[in-house]
Amino acid sequence: MNLATFIQNVLNSLTLGSLYALVAIGYTMVYGILRLINFAHSEIFMLGAYFVFWGITLVHLPWPVAMVLAILVTASLGVLVDQVAYRPLRDAPRISALISSIGVSFFLQNVAIVFFQAIPREVYRPSWLEDPILMGGVRVLPLTLFVPLLSLALMLALVYVVYRTKTGLGMRAISKDIETSYLMGVPVNRVIAITFGIGSALAAASGIMWALRYPQLQPIMGTIPGFKAFIAAVFGGIGSIQGAVIGGVTLGFIEIMTVAFFPDLAGYRDAFAFVLLILVLMVKPTGLLGERPEDKV
């Protein structure tokens, strides 16, 4: 493998990895606060992507406007999902909310199949994204630089929200002990609604980025990135925002480099990712940056 090919592969990994990271941040946020694995995240991701391209093709909005609107609509949808599917189950055993999230996931996917039809649709990309920049033998898509930067910016913004704001304080309190938070006057439902709003906005942002990178829309488009991001989140230590980013990028590198170095095994790169996940969890069950769960007395 020559240097140009290697650098090309590093860039490929970085693009894929930061896309995973972006999806994983949304997963990990909801989990961190509510201890709930929100399986509907994949479908929110898919809807976010559809909304943007609707805004552009049906309402003829300019790019940035369509994107901001889609993120806002998706965030509200996320809050709505929480109100309808999770809030009534707040006091129920955790498994009930998990099952409810699987239900929401199937529901949204089927609604999408009915309304958007199952056939894949084309994605309109702004022209500045279409043309790769040539540097030596290496081709860089503008998106390749844009997505990691966006992931990093979002991660920093989130860390700020969680550790420096009052809402963030509420989130951390709820994550430790939801009942005591109620008693201490934390507006629990509002904080949780905000969490879902942010999580869903992130899902929309990543759905849009994904659709730009792999330009095709279909109702099942969220499933595979959703699973991969979930693995990334667990790998990085579920509940940790920094962990999600590290997990996502690592997973991207594993997948691409497996193919680059062992081309014969290219069809089984998912298996490689899983094997690594299992190994990490055997050595460090909480993931790379996960906290040791505290025993409640």
């Binding site: 199949i113 084309e122 081709r139 330009p215 095709q216 480099m257």
Partner: protein, 377 residues
Amino acid sequence: MRKLLLLSLALVVGLANLAFAADDTVKIGVFLPLTGQNAFGGQLELEGVQMAHKEVGTILGKKVELFVVDNKSDKVEAANAVQRLIEKEKVQAIIGTYGSSLAMAGGEVSEKAHIPQVGTSCTNPLVTQGKKYIFRVCFIDPYQGAGAATYAYKTLGLKKAALLVDVANDYSVGLAKFFERSFTKLGGQVVSTLNYQSGDQDFTAQLTKIISEKPDVLFIPSYFAEGAIIMKQAAELGATFKIMGGDAMDNPKITDIGGKAVEGFTHTTFPYDPSMKNMSAMAKKFTDGWKAQYPGKEPNVNAALGYDAYMIILDAIKRAGKADPEAITKALAETKGFEGATGSTTINATHDAEKPVGLVVIKDGKKIYEGEIVPEL
């Protein structure tokens, strides 16, 4: 006493069922992927079936009834779908499906229940292998893969080939195998074979590797949705080699999704395309009928195969003189020179259709039917 009562009741119900089956309608089941990754082809095939049904709605003075079940592009669902068509709807014949893996799963059920099944575009040899009740209106992968290889090597003069194969898909693996066999036999060289899995959306690692091997042609026996993404990513990575594929890439939307990246892409397909010159009378009838029924929408070969699958069953019923599954099966096996939208079809000893391999190339954002080729196996 009570046992006897129950027994007679069961008998009455059973008889009623039997009487119902011999009703004055002919029941034809359809199982196709209407959702999931193969939905694109499945929906087109269904539209072809429905168009044929609208055109000819009665046979032997009986009304034909269609029962459509979505197999969701899933092997387990495909088997369930056929089960449901046979047990619940009591169909006499089944049409389906797009996708060889799905056809194999559904075919097992049909074979056990002794209900004839006519595949639309499932091209893997295993679909009909050793089966008495399974047929198809399309040719098989060895034929098609060899067709692509022959065209690449002999007509275009390309000597080095690379392959990108979906290892989780029988269709893809089959086509790749026969492309490689024929290409190397002709004197060509396969420089690399890389894999992916259905559902993957990132092919950059494989494509980077392939580009570094500098082949003249890349053969991607993939489904349409993945194929379009592969070509986009290849273009972004700076690939300049020729790209070829199989019939699963035959879709009117390919130029919308692929854009500039699909320019020059060539794929093998069944001998039908709306852009073909010297269209046969049946092909013309199908094309005109389609344009009248779905204005503003291009027909494609999948729709034509759906149309043919329906027509070939009616033809068999007509020849058999009755719509009973065994009689239909026997008549289907004896089909010779059936004139359909996709040319003249003869069902051979292995229950596959014999017809030439068509070639379609994309030029200036349009699909152009290049002609036909006789593959060197």
